[in-house]
Amino acid sequence: MRLLLNSLDPEVAECPEELIVYGGTGKAARDRESAEGIRKELTQLKDDETLLIQSGKPVAVFPSHPFAPRVIMAGSLLVPSYSDYDTFSRLERRGLTAFGQTTASCWAYIGSQGVMEGTANTYGEVARRHFGGTLRGRWVLTAGLGGMGSAQPLGVEYNDGVVLAVEVDESKVDRRVRNSLCQMKAADLDEALFLVREAVGRKEARSVALVGNAAQVFRDLLKRGVTPDVVTDQTAAHDLLNGYVPAGISLPEAVKLRADAPEKYLDLSRRGIVEHVKAMMEFMHRGAVVFDYGNNIRHQAVAAGLPEAFEIPGFVSAYLRDYFCVGRGPFRWIALSGQPEDIYALDEFILAEFKDDEEITHWIHFAQERIPFQGLPARTCWLNLDQRLRLVQVITDLLRQGKLAAPLALTRDHMGSVASPWRETEKMPDGSDSIADWPVLGGLLNAISGASLVSIQQGGGVGVGYSLHTGMTVIVDASEISAKKAQQVTVSDVGLGIIRHADAGYTSAQRMSRQYGFHVD
């Protein structure tokens, strides 16, 4: 229950009064009544019962057993032939379903830190592959400072670069600056470019936010002959009605038009997104490194009549796949005590235990210095299976020694247990991009391995119809059964990601699969 409440904490959620956690309309529960129902059921739930949640609404409590999950969820799912945005929206308006984004409906969202290291790693790989290992003296043009996009400024700064982030909603810009996620807000494009150029010239890390429409600003920059080193985008392009704001209309006008004439709005969005992606491609032709940052903008442009949009590579296939092949991915732990000391105690362990892993130590030091906690104190860190198992053991030991104030929730982003042909599973070597068996297997496996919460969802990140993914959370306390559950579910969760990539033909994943004994002869 603390995780549900945490995901709706005003410090965490984008719009808690509407139950929206992040990512356009990603909700923690379907409606107020459902949220209250979930809260009530969780308060009464026994150790041998399981609560069922259907798209954010509590529907039943079944007798189960202590090793079974306390909560299982299915969210936003539709029969494949009907799995499109229009059908989903119609059903959502009728109150029959809700969009859960990725970590919103399964209450694993912890604010910007959740994707921060992933963002830092993405830009780190960009730096390694194109700029000799650093973004020092380079600048990144991006857009969108929503829940996911707000990790970009620090992600670029982490790699010593300069970023100009365009965001249409001024209140989001102000919020990011107030929360130290972005250094400064420029008054206009001239000032923004001045600030960017000054930092690039001095080879200083700097993040600048500009209030504006991304497509418009991108085009203005092209007209001025300005070419950034890197261009990407994290606007809410996955949702052309309630997320994306096309060029030429202001945010208040957009809000009104969405309600008054949704068809007209969608038409404007489609045309706007074509121009937006054309601008990104023009930057690419002028020599910038351009990539899709997982908001499905390329596919939206293709659907709107720009087939060449797929010339732009996706960020996972281009930069992050190698991590997933070896089972390294976004792992996070949340202190249910609410005490930062619990997180700092584990930081100390990680810094000592993994001191030879420079990526990990650099990240922990950076996080301690720069990233404020939002809601419950939490830490995210990309760890491999051995490291996760070691951490689980230490958490159990520290809890038993009374050195942590309360149990912790272990969870992760959905990047390893996902089928998303335009993002996480794009360009798999065997062509299995759209095979959706893997996340379902992952969910089932986690449920029998001892996870406390398992969710099977669709549409996270890229929108309805384009992805299927599984959430997992396990609560670790000092008990024997909890330790066993946490160890077992960690193995199954990471293991599934490894065998999915091994099955697709990645030799590094096949090697890992053999090493851990997951493979089938």
């Binding site: 107030r178 929360n179 206009d188 001239d190 000032e191 000054e198 000391e341 210095e369 404020p372």
Partner: protein, 389 residues
């Protein structure tokens, strides 16, 4: 409270108020050392009313003892999670965590605290309250907002606890952000027609609101308008000395206004003032550029950025850069480089300083870079130049 804890709390209050703490973890450790459950999230500024009279003819010893008494009273009245520090002889910053308050401004403990403190000290205070910042490293912003609000409350009068939020956002927003920006830009662009149009629009917008507002609210509206005019005028080259008579006149009129209708006239005259201010003296820009050139000549040995130079002129870097180029035909950095080269040449001719020292004297920490720039300017390396001349 023991003295160690007291020192820790005061140190934390200073660090947060003046934005000195950058690391999330170190901040948390300071919070714990200060015996707090969680960091503060909001700054309030408490200024003693009528301090001029109170401090008149008082000895330094009296002031020290008075401050001690003030501190002791605040310590005794504030709850364990609030911390405070002096920000001047007669004002304190008090930092709270708004989690300790209920929802909305009405539920804040400030009125009750103020009443108790005033009773204990037999003094009156004006209190400005900044906005909530969940990241305590940003509390310097909350402090600036609180100070600005306290000042506004002191000038405008009426209520004696002012909330920055209430004065700048929502339904009670004195001027809309868009109109403020439009007015500021029109003044900066020296566009008389646009300035007149924006002023006219603001007058129309405010007309109904003023009629429906109470005197204190209406004064806040006018104060906001005058602040925009003043800041834009400063940023477009006028000096504080030049603007001071206008400030004084406006503040006096604001103080003396007894009815809302008195303020209508002020809007009209503020509009005229804007135009007069901008139309007043084109040579202001020339004077500002002259000042900037003088500054560069006197500081050419320092590691200067455009931001540093612009800040000295109270201008945004972007605007300053544009103005400098318009006036001189050179960018600021081209001008500075030319100055440095001329000085470098002079030192090479007139002194025996080694080239590396000359480079340092004219602001280049890297002698090789100095040599390259020198060669680009004069067609020969510094050592060649010295040998030749």
């Amino acid at each position: 409270m023991d003295s160690f804890l007291g020192r820790m709390r005061q140190e934390l209050a200073y660090n947060l108020t003046f934005g000195l703490e950058a690391s999330v973890r170190e901040l948390w450790e300071m919070v714990r050392r200060a015996g707090l459950q969680y960091p503060p999230s909001i700054v309030t500024v408490w200024e003693v009313s009528g301090a001029e009279t109170l401090f008149r003819d008082r000895s330094e010893l009296w002031k020290v003892s008075w401050r001690r008494e003030l501190k002791k009273t605040f310590d005794s009245v504030l709850d364990n999670n609030a911390i405070h520090c002096f920000i001047s002889d007669r004002a304190l910053a008090v930092l709270f965590n708004n989690h300790d308050w209920g929802p909305g401004d009405d539920s804040s403990p400030l009125p009750e605290l103020k009443r108790r403190i005033e009773n204990l000290l037999a003094l009156k205070f004006v209190v400005g309250v900044g906005r909530v910042y969940p990241d305590a490293r940003q509390l310097g912003m909350s402090f600036h907002e609180a100070r600005q609000t306290a000042e506004r409350v002191r000038i405008v009068g009426g209520q004696d606890i002012g909330f920055f939020d209430a004065m700048s956002e929502g339904d009670d927003e004195p001027l809309l952000e868009t109109e403020k920006l439009a007015l500021k830009r029109a003044i900066q662009k020296n566009d008389r027609r646009e300035t007149a149009l924006v002023i006219q629009k603001i007058k129309e917008m405010l007309s109904d609101r003023l009629d429906n507002a109470n005197l204190s609210g209406a004064k806040t509206v006018i104060f906001e308008l005058l602040s925009v005019v003043s800041i834009a005028s400063l940023e477009s080259g006028r000096t504080l000395e030049e603007l001071f008579p206008y400030f004084l006149e406006w503040i006096t009129k604001l103080r003396l206004a007894k009815e809302v209708s008195d303020l209508h006239e002020m809007i009209a005259s503020a509009g005229e003032k804007v135009l007069v201010l901008r139309n007043h003296d084109r040579s202001l820009e020339a004077r500002m550029i002259t000042r900037a050139k003088e500054f560069l000549e006197n500081h050419l040995g320092e590691d200067l950025t455009l931001s540093d130079i612009a800040k000295r002129q109270f201008l945004s870097p972007c605007y300053f850069s544009r103005l400098f180029k318009q006036s001189t035909g050179q960018t600021v950095m081209e001008f500075l480089t030319a100055l440095r080269m001329a000085k470098g040449k002079e030192l090479l001719e007139k002194t025996n300083q080694p080239v590396s020292q000359v480079a340092g004297t004219v602001g280049y920490s890297d002698p090789n870079y100095f040599s390259r720039v020198f060669k680009r300017h004069f067609g020969m390396a510094p050592s060649e130049y010295r040998a030749k001349y």
